[in-house]
C-alpha cells in the first residue's frame, strides 16, 4: 500500500505539473487530479465489488483503492490552495475551488459507478467478439 501511495503521489505530481502549463488558474491542477482520482476509485471499487463478476483480491483492492487512488488525490493541497486564496482575499477563487471540487468529484464518483455497472458485460461481449 505504501508503494501504491508512492505511485499515486508521483502521478499526482506529474499531472499537476502538466496541467499548470495549460491554464493559469491556481486550483485547476489539483482539481483535475482529484476529479480523475475520484472517477478511478469509484470505477475500480464498483467493478471489483466482491459480490460482482470481476474478481480482484482484497490485497489488490487495498493497493489500488487505498494506496494508488488515495495517494493520488489530496485533501491537504486542496485545503492549502483554499487557505491561500482566503488569505489573499480571493474569495471567488476560494468558493469556486470548494464548490467545484466537491461537485465535480462527486460527479466523478457517480460516473465511475455508472460505467462500472455494465462493464463486465461489455468486457465479455468484447472478448467474445475478439475470439470469434
Amino acid at each position: 500500500m505504501a508503494i501504491g501511495g508512492g505511485i499515486g503521489s508521483v502521478m499526482r505530481f506529474a499531472v499537476s505539473e502538466w496541467m499548470s502549463h495549460l491554464l493559469v488558474w491556481t486550483p485547476l491542477p489539483i482539481l483535475v487530479v482529484n476529479v480523475t482520482g475520484c472517477f478511478a476509485i469509484s470505477f475500480l471499487n464498483f467493478v471489483s465489488d466482491p459480490s460482482g463478476e470481476i474478481y480482484l483480491g482484497s490485497r489488490s483492492r487495498v493497493f489500488l483503492l487505498v494506496g494508488v487512488c488515495g495517494g493520488y488525490t489530496t485533501f491537504s493541497s486542496f485545503s492549502l490552495i483554499s487557505f491561500n486564496a482566503a488569505r489573499h482575499g480571493a474569495f471567488v477563487d476560494l468558493w469556486l475551488n470548494m464548490g467545484l471540487s466537491h461537485l465535480l468529484c462527486l460527479f466523478g464518483i457517480w460516473m465511475g459507478a455508472m460505467i462500472a455497472a455494465p462493464f463486465p458485460h461489455a468486457l465479455r461481449a468484447a472478448l467474445r467478439l475478439w475470439r470469434s
Partner: protein, 113 residues
C-alpha cells in the same frame, strides 16, 4: 499506510456510521501542510531546496490525505439516503481542514527565524 492504519483505528472506535477515519487523516494532513508552508521557506535561511519542500508537502501531506476516499464515502452516504450525514461530511471536512491549515500556518508566523 498511516492513512489506512489511522482510518482503521478510528473506524473501530466510532464504527462505520460516519467516515471519521478519513476526516482525521485529512485534518492532520491539512495541519501539517499549513505548518510546512509557513515553515519551510525559512528553514536553513531559505536555502532548503524547492525539491525537498515539494517532497514534504506534495509527498507526505498529499499522500496522507485523500479526496477520493472522502468523495466515495460521501457518495455512499447519499446513496443510503443519509443526506444530512453527507452534507455534514462535506462541511465538516472542508471547514476543519481549512481551519487546520490556518492554525498550522499561523503557528509558524510567531516563530523568529
Amino acid at each position: 499506510m498511516w492513512r489506512y492504519w489511522w482510518s482503521g483505528l478510528v473506524a473501530e472506535r466510532f464504527g462505520e456510521t460516519f467516515p471519521f477515519g478519513t476526516l482525521v487523516v485529512n485534518i492532520v494532513g491539512s495541519a501539517l501542510i499549513g505548518t510546512f508552508s509557513g515553515l519551510l521557506p525559512h528553514v536553513a535561511n531559505g536555502r532548503l531546496s524547492t525539491a525537498l519542500q515539494q517532497l514534504l508537502m506534495v509527498g507526505v501531506c498529499g499522500g496522507l490525505t485523500t479526496f477520493s476516499s472522502f468523495s466515495l464515502q460521501t457518495y455512499n452516504l447519499i446513496v443510503e439516503g443519509r443526506w444530512l450525514s453527507a452534507l455534514g461530511n462535506i462541511a465538516l471536512s472542508s471547514g476543519l481542514c481549512l481551519g487546520c491549515v490556518a492554525v498550522g500556518w499561523q503557528v509558524t508566523q510567531g516563530i523568529r527565524f
